[in-house]
Every structure is written in structure tokens, then in C-alpha cells.
């Protein structure tokens, strides 16, 4: 058995793979000492080898992992394994969002990441939910109950928050604001995707893909199906596990 571990900004994800198949996975919130936490998670599986990805990958390599790969490659391997027709990946995690274009053989051809900007990330959604007084799941169900859109001009996390506050002070219904924030994020993600050009199947990975309203709105906006894996947040860890499983054979 080989293990892939993804040390992200908000959560640590683990995937265990045997003979190219996923056998187990788990997700835990990041603690103050992510590499120790990750090491304990890994130890329970007694793996042959470990590959690390995510922001903490180099720290993990220093302490226990045999190999590191970037999130870009990890998500590509994971998504392509589950969806062999996948040529485009949208990954939205806690701290960043990225778009990856694959060639016919599944190799990374091009990718883009949001730089120095929290717009359209999991963290952005958390901040927006909090400024409306919602828990994260309430935020999307409230948005789903609205069919009204107000204009949110700013995608900058700081400015969007003050925009939300002034909308509330004008008496705008919070569910309308919630829906509008979802739509703005969809706009942002769509323009990132269109910049790189969507080909083949589009796979949406990362924890934010659990927001079914966002997926639905994105699919409508792009007028094409958006594939979401059963556990979208473990795709990076799964890809890392596949990488080491393959290179170990």
C-alpha cells in the first residue's frame, strides 16, 4: 500500500492506494503542527512509501515523505484516473484556485493559479458567509432559496466584505446577497477557465466543489457538464498516492 498526503492550508487529506485503486481516505482539519499531525495519520496505514503534496509538502518530505509532487500534478493524476476523458481541471481549495489544462495523454499542458488574491477560494466563501452570519452550509442553502440577484462589484476579499456590509445596511435580503456572491464566484472561475480554454471533460476538485449550488451555477454558466468526484477534496492526495504507487512498481 502507498499513501498520498495533501497538506493544505485548511485541511490535511490522505489517500491510500493499492495496485492503482483507492482503498481508503480521510480528511482532518490542519492543526498548528501539520507535519506531525500528517505523520501520525500516515503511520496508521503502515505504507510502503509516502508522497506528499500541498503547501506543506516540503516539510513532510523533510520529516517522513519519500517523494513530493505539486498540487498541479497531483490533481491531474487523480482527476484523470477517475475521469479518463478529463482535459480540464478546476481545483478550488482553502487558499487558492487553479485551472489545469491537460494534453491528450493527460500531461499538464498549461495551468493558472490566482496569485496574491483570495478571490474565489474557500477562505473567501467562509469570510462572506461569516459576514452574513451564516455557517458555511447555511450560506449555500440560503443562496439556493433565492432567485434574485444584486450586483457585487468586487471580488477582492477585503472590498467584497465591505460591499456586503453596505448591502445589508440597505436592507437587501441576506439570501439574495448569498446567491449573488455565488454568482460572482462563478463568474470569476469561468473567466479563469475561459482564459485557458476548456477542452474534454471538466472536473471540479477541491473542498469547494462540495458546494452543489456553485457546481450547478457553474455548469449553467459554462453550458456544459461539470464532473465532481465523490470526495473532491481528496483528489490531490489520491493523485500523490497514484504517483508513488506507479513509480514504485
Amino acid at each position: 500500500m502507498h499513501v498520498g498526503i495533501d497538506l493544505g492550508s485548511r485541511a490535511i487529506k490522505l489517500a491510500a492506494v493499492k495496485d492503482g485503486q483507492l482503498v481508503s481516505s480521510e480528511v482532518a482539519n490542519s492543526s498548528f503542527e501539520p507535519h506531525k499531525q500528517a505523520q501520525e495519520m500516515v503511520a496508521r496505514y503502515n505504507p510502503l512509501q509516502v508522497a506528499a503534496t500541498g503547501y506543506g509538502r516540503h516539510l513532510a518530505q523533510k520529516h517522513f515523505a519519500q517523494q513530493v509532487i505539486t498540487e498541479i500534478k497531483a490533481h491531474s493524476l487523480g482527476a484523470r484516473h477517475l475521469y479518463p476523458g478529463c482535459r480540464t481541471i478546476l481545483d478550488v481549495g482553502g487558499q487558492d484556485s487553479k485551472v489545469i489544462a491537460l494534453d491528450e495523454r493527460g500531461r499538464v499542458a498549461q495551468f493558472q493559479m490566482n496569485d496574491k488574491c483570495a478571490a474565489g477560494t474557500g477562505r473567501f466563501m467562509e469570510m462572506m458567509a461569516a459576514s452574513l452570519g451564516y455557517a458555511l452550509d447555511e450560506f449555500s442553502s440560503a443562496a439556493a432559496s433565492s432567485d434574485h440577484r444584486v450586483t457585487i462589484n468586487s471580488m477582492c476579499a477585503v472590498f467584497a466584505e465591505s460591499e456586503v456590509v453596505s448591502l445589508r445596511n440597505r436592507g437587501t435580503a441576506p439570501e439574495d446577497i448569498a446567491r449573488s456572491i455565488h454568482l460572482s464566484i462563478v463568474e470569476r472561475l469561468s473567466s479563469m477557465l475561459e482564459r485557458i480554454g476548456i477542452q474534454g471533460e471538466l472536473v471540479f476538485s477541491g473542498g469547494v466543489a462540495r458546494n452543489s449550488l456553485l457546481v450547478q451555477l457553474l455548469s449553467q454558466r459554462l453550458a456544459r457538464p461539470v464532473m465532481v468526484p465523490e470526495s473532491p477534496e481528496i483528489i490531490g492526495a489520491f493523485g500523490a498516492a497514484l504517483h508513488i504507487d506507479k513509480s514504485a512498481v
Binding site: T70, I72, D96, V108, F111, D115, K116
Partner: protein
Amino acid sequence: MSDFSVKADEQLWTELQMDVERFKNVPPVLTKLYSDIFLSQKNRPAEMTYFDNMIENIYTGRIQEMLDARKAGKPVIGTFCVYVPEEIIQAAGGLCIGLCGGSQATVPDAEKILPRNICPMVKSAFGFKISGMCPFFQAVDFVYGETTCDAKKKTWELLDKYVPTHVMEIPQLKRERDKRLWLEEVKDFKQAVEKITGNEISEDELRAAVDTLNAKRKSLQRLNSLRHNNPSPISGRDMLLIQQIAFYDDPVRFTDKVNELCDELEARIKENNAVAPKETPRIMVSGTPMALPNWKLHNIIEGSGAVIVNEESCIGTRYYKDTIETNGASAEEMLEKLTERYMKIDCSCFTPNDDRIDQVIAEYKASGAQGLIDYCLQFCHTYNIEAVKLREACEKEGIPFMAIESDYSPEDVGQLQTRVEAFIEQISE
């Protein structure tokens, strides 16, 4: 090499009216940074010792040379651009010194006055002057400013309050009338320099200066073509450093040292003595200048296991790819030859600027790179927009391309590292 230490001279800095209390913390910080990024490299060429010494003496020895020149009545001009007709300064016996503008440390100083959302190089440089944190700035007769971008040309108006700033208009197109304009500007600059010495520059002095700077540019051409060898005989970090030092060192001494380094590299190539194995991923960097001590991207790229094999940048090939013909029959003709050379500079402030796209592709092919990273200082609109054309050209040529926009702050290092590593994975597959 553990005895490396950037030198301090508080008496000299006091004479220069610097903020000595604050500035005295800088040499230890630079010592540490330089040791981590440069001295930790394995198998560096021995001739790099000279350039290490230039950094050790950056705030003392070289400053003293500038002051000595001024005492002798020679012009000492501070600059920020490759669009400086430095042959004229050289002909007048003067010193042409690239000023500080590559550090995050003085950006907060600048942001007390300047808007935040402008070029980090402009903010850093302005901050260096107003905070008294750059000995070079303190030791110049005047600053040469040009109109290559909006942030610069409007900042010169503010900078002029702190240090005399001579502004030259750089044309933005390359028609005949633009060339005539630039020639007039060159003549004005010559007069400004002559005013300091009280002597008119002669034809012979100008020709000798052109020879000196041609030799300097040719030594850098020679060095850059040697570093294209695979496996690389010298790292990208060391190459960037040399190209940065080119902007403040004495040109004759610098040329000799670069040629000595070239001799060593020729020997290393014969012995197959390299800084990285042949299979190391090779990356070329293009775009905006990296002013000293901006080593951020080079450190990330080479720290991620690749080697940088070319810099198409102002602090790079743009500075030395062209030389000047010396066959002008009079001072006037020499100035025309000089102007022709400077009009070949392919700065993105020009429109159209397709020569630069061709130049990048040609350098890419010559360098044996496997991927191109285009570096854009944040808010540099002209290079940022030109990256669109560069990407298209790379797609056409089948060159892996990635554009990076960044400033001097450390906050995006994690993301940049991920992007650079992913790019290396991409080109290594």
C-alpha cells in the same frame, strides 16, 4: 567562504547624511541573504570571488570611489534604466551608477507618499532616497530619469525635490522623427554632463568611451554565450548578480574581470566541470528588470532544482546585445551612431515592439532552454500586456511558457514555488 561580510563605514554614511541608525542594520542582513543564496551554491567558479568582493564593498569601497570622483570634479550620475547614454558620462570621465530599487525594505517609506498600486521598483527607489537608506543616491550629482513608464515619469517630479533629476524624453515609436527627438535629448544630456566638468566632450573622448563600453558589452555577450553551454558552467543566480553589478562597477575593471571569468568558464567547459548535471531542467527568464538585491525568482527557480540559462531583461541581454559602430567621422556622427544603437533597445514602452518577441525566441533557441518564464513586476502594464504576444509566439513555436507577476514582498513565495515546481514537472515529463 564563511568570512564573507558586507562592510560598514558609519563615518562615511554620516558624511553622506544617511539614516545611519537604521542603515547599520542593512549590512548584516545582506551578508546573511547573500550567504544563503550565493555562497551556499556548490562548485562556483573561482573568479566569482571578485563579484563577492563587490558585494562586500557595496556600501563602502565603491561609494568611496564615487566620492573621490566627485572631489576630482568628475560627474557622478545615478540611473534606473538601460536607456542611459552612458558613453557620454564615460567620455566626460564620470561614473554612471545604477541606483538602489530592488528591495522591499523601503517600499513602506515610499507608500507614505506614493500610491500603493504602482511598480515596486519605483516605490523601492523613491523610498531609498527619502529615507536616506541608499548611499549611492546620496553620492550622485544628479539622477537621470527617463519617460519609459507613467510611474517613473511622474515620480521624477516628486524625486526632484530631494535630488536634482534630469528627465529625458524617450520616444515610444521608432519612426525617423522619433529618432531625431532622441538625438536632441542625447545632446541635452551631453550638455548637462558638460556643465559639471566645465569642458566640452571631444570626438576622441567620445570614441574612446564608446570603445570602453563596447568592450564591456562584448565581454557580457561572451559570458552569456559561454553560460549557454549544457551542462551549465555557471548558475543563473551568479549570472544575474554579474549583470546587476554591471550597473554600478567601473566599466574597465568590470570588463577585465568578466573576461577572466570567461577564460575560467572556457576551461571548465573543456573539463566538463559544471554547476548542475546535463539533465537538469533548463529555464530561460524574460521580462522586467531584477534590480539588486531582487534575487527572489532566481532563488525560487534554482532552489526548485532547475538552472536558469538566460535573462532577456534590462538587467540581462537588453543591456548588452547591441554595440555602437565607432566609424563616425565627427563628434556629431558619433552621437548619431550612438543614437542608432539606443534606438535598437526593445523595451516594452515601444509600440509596436515585435522585435522583442523575435529577440526572446532567438535567445531561447540559443540558450538551449526547455521552458520560458516571463517575469513581470507588479503593475508594469507594458510588459504585462506584451506577455500576451509572447505567449502566442511561444505557443506557435511549441515553447512551454509561464507568466509570473510579482513584487518584492515575501508573501507570495509559497504560491510562486508551487507554480515554478509545477512548471519544472511539466517540462521534465
